[in-house]
C-alpha cells in the first residue's frame, strides 16, 4: 500500500511525514495530540543504516518530546542480507533500535506498530514486535521466511509445508495467524483513524502476547509454561 494513502487515512487532520531512502519519519495529528511517526516503505530490507536512522528518530523523540506517542509503520522484506551488514554487526544495530523502543516505552511513550504491507522476520522483530501492541492491515503479509527457502533449510518437502500453511497458524503467512497466536493485537479493516485512536488509548500491561495466544487458541503452551515456572510447578496446568 502507498504510504501517502495510508497516512492520509490514519491522520485525516493532517500529517507531515517525509521519506528518505525508504525510511519514514515525521508526525501526524490526532485530535490535540501529535503522534511521532517512524517506519519503512518500499519493502525495504533493514540494514545497519535503516536501523540506525529509525533509532535516531526515536531517541530524538524521547529527548525532545516527552510522552509523545509513537507509531511505527512496517513494510520490509526482512533483514539486509549482505556481508557488509554482518561485518559491521547488524545484530547490534537491530538491538540498538529495539532498546530505543524499549527506552521510549519506559519513559512513558505509548508505542503502536502497524504492518501495512510486508513484514518478514528480522526486519520486524526489533521494531513492530517491540511495540506495546502490533496491528496489521488485512492484506498484509507477515512471515518468517518464504516456503521454498524454508523447505531447503528444514529439508521438509515444500508440498508438506504448503499443505500445513493452509490451516496451521504456525506455518501460514498472514495476519490472521499472527492474530490467533497473539503476535498481532488486532487487524484493522476500516476507519484507520478510529482504530489508531483506540490503540493509543489502551494501557500497556507488559507483554501480554503469551496470554493472548492461549486465549485465542493459537499457542496453547507458551503461557502455561511461563505460569508453571513462575509458580515453581513441574507440570503444566490443564
Amino acid at each position: 500500500m502507498d504510504w501517502h494513502l495510508l497516512t492520509s487515512a490514519l491522520f485525516p487532520q493532517g500529517s507531515r511525514i517525509v521519506e528518505a531512502q525508504h525510511v519514514l519519519t515525521g508526525e501526524g495529528a490526532v485530535g490535540d495530540t501529535t503522534i511521532a511517526v517512524v517506519g519503512t516503505t518500499g519493502h525495504t530490507p533493514i540494514g545497519v543504516d535503516v536501523a540506525l536512522a529509525q533509532a535516531r528518530f526515536i531517541l530524538q523523540t524521547v529527548r525532545e518530546h516527552p510522552g509523545r506517542p509513537i507509531l511505527i509503520l512496517v513494510d520490509t522484506q526482512g533483514q539486509r542480507l549482505r556481508h557488509r551488514d554482518e561485518m559491521l554487526g547488524i545484530n547490534a544495530y537491530m538491538a540498538h533500535l529495539g532498546k530505543c523502543v524499549e527506552l521510549a516505552r519506559r519513559s512513558g511513550h505509548r508505542i503502536v506498530a502497524l504492518v501495512y504491507d510486508q513484514a518478514l522476520s528480522g526486519g520486524f522483530i526489533t521494531s513492530g514486535l517491540m511495540a506495546d501492541a502490533c496491528y496489521a492491515l488485512p492484506n498484509a503479509t507477515i512471515r518468517v521466511m518464504g516456503l521454498p527457502a524454508m523447505a531447503r533449510i528444514t529439508k521438509v518437502p515444500e508440498e508438506r509445508l504448503t499443505e500445513l500453511a493452509l490451516d496451521n497458524p504456525v506455518f501460514a503467512p498472514g495476519p490472521e495467524n499472527y492474530l490467533r497466536m497473539g503476535g498481532i493485537q488486532e487487524i484493522w479493516g476500516d476507519d484507520l483513524q478510529a482504530r489508531l485512536i483506540e490503540a493509543l488509548a489502551m494501557d500497556s500491561n507488559g507483554d501480554v502476547r503469551p496470554a493472548l495466544g492461549l486465549a485465542r487458541g493459537g499457542r496453547l503452551l507458551s503461557q502455561r509454561v511461563i505460569t508453571a515456572i513462575l509458580a515453581g510447578q513441574d507440570t503444566l496446568a490443564p
Binding site: R84, L88, E102, G122, L164
Partner: protein, 296 residues
Amino acid sequence: MTSYVEATARERLARLFDAGSFQEFLPPSSRVVSPHLGQLNAPVAFDDGVAVGRALLDNRPVFVAAQEGGFMGGAVGEVHGAKLVGMLRRAILDAPDAVVLLLETGGVRLHEANAGLIAVSEVMRAVLDVRAAGIPVIALVGGANGCFGGMGIVARCTNAVVMSEEGRLAMSGPEVIETASGVEEFDARDRALVWRTTGGKHRYLLGDCQALVADSIDAFRAAAITQIETIASPALTLAALEQEQALLAARLDDFGHVREPYDLWRALGVPDPEALPLLEADAFVELVDSHRLEAR
C-alpha cells in the same frame, strides 16, 4: 572435559556454575515437549533444547539458561522460548544477582516458524524487563553453532557478551547470504572469512563483546564473574543509548566502505592483522586492547 565448544549444554551448566548448585525449572522429566515438531516427523527433546533454572556462581545466586546446539541447532520454538521467558520473569520476582544466558542457537526454529518468531520477540522484551528491574544479564557465546538470528539481537540486548574465538555472533548465516546475494557477496565455504566477519575476535575488536576468552569452561566462568562484578547500573538510560547511537554512527562512517575485515582491523591501528587469528586469547586481548572500539 574443559572445552566449552565441545561440551553439551548440560555439561556446561554442571561445570561452569558451582558444583551441584543447578536446580532446573521444568526438567526433562516434566516432558514439556514441542507440540509442533510431530507434524513434520521430527523427533522432540524432553527439554525442547534448553535447560533453565537457578544456580550459584561463586556463591552468588544467579538464574541461568543453556541452549543445546545439538538439538535443532539450538533454535527457538514455542516451548523453548517460553522456558526462557518464564525463567526471566521469575528472575524479576526472585531478584538474583544476575541472569546468565549460555546462548548457542540459529535463532527462530523454522519448523515452528510463526511461533518461534513471536517467542524470540518475547525473550527480547523479557531480557529488557530483567535489566529494568536492576538485574544484570550476561550472554556467553562459545558454541559451535554460534548465536544467530533474532537471538543474535537478544545477545546485544544484554549488559555484556563474553565470547571465545570459536563463537560467532551475527544475524544471518553465511549460507543464507550466499544464497540470497551470490558467492561473490559472501563465500560460505571460506570459513576463515566467516570467522573474521562474525567470530569472537572480530566482535571484540568492534566492541560488540566485552570479553574474549579461551575455549574453556573455566575461562567463561571467570569472565562471567568479572562481568557481574563490573556492571553497576543494568537498566537502559537515554544517555547510554545516545552514546551507543554515536558509536554505531561512527562505526558506520569509519568502516561502512570496508570490504575485508582485515582492512577494518588495520584501520583500527592493529599491527599485522593477518596474525590475529593465530593468537591465543590472552595474547590477542593484550595486543588489541589499546586499539579496539568501546561499546556497551
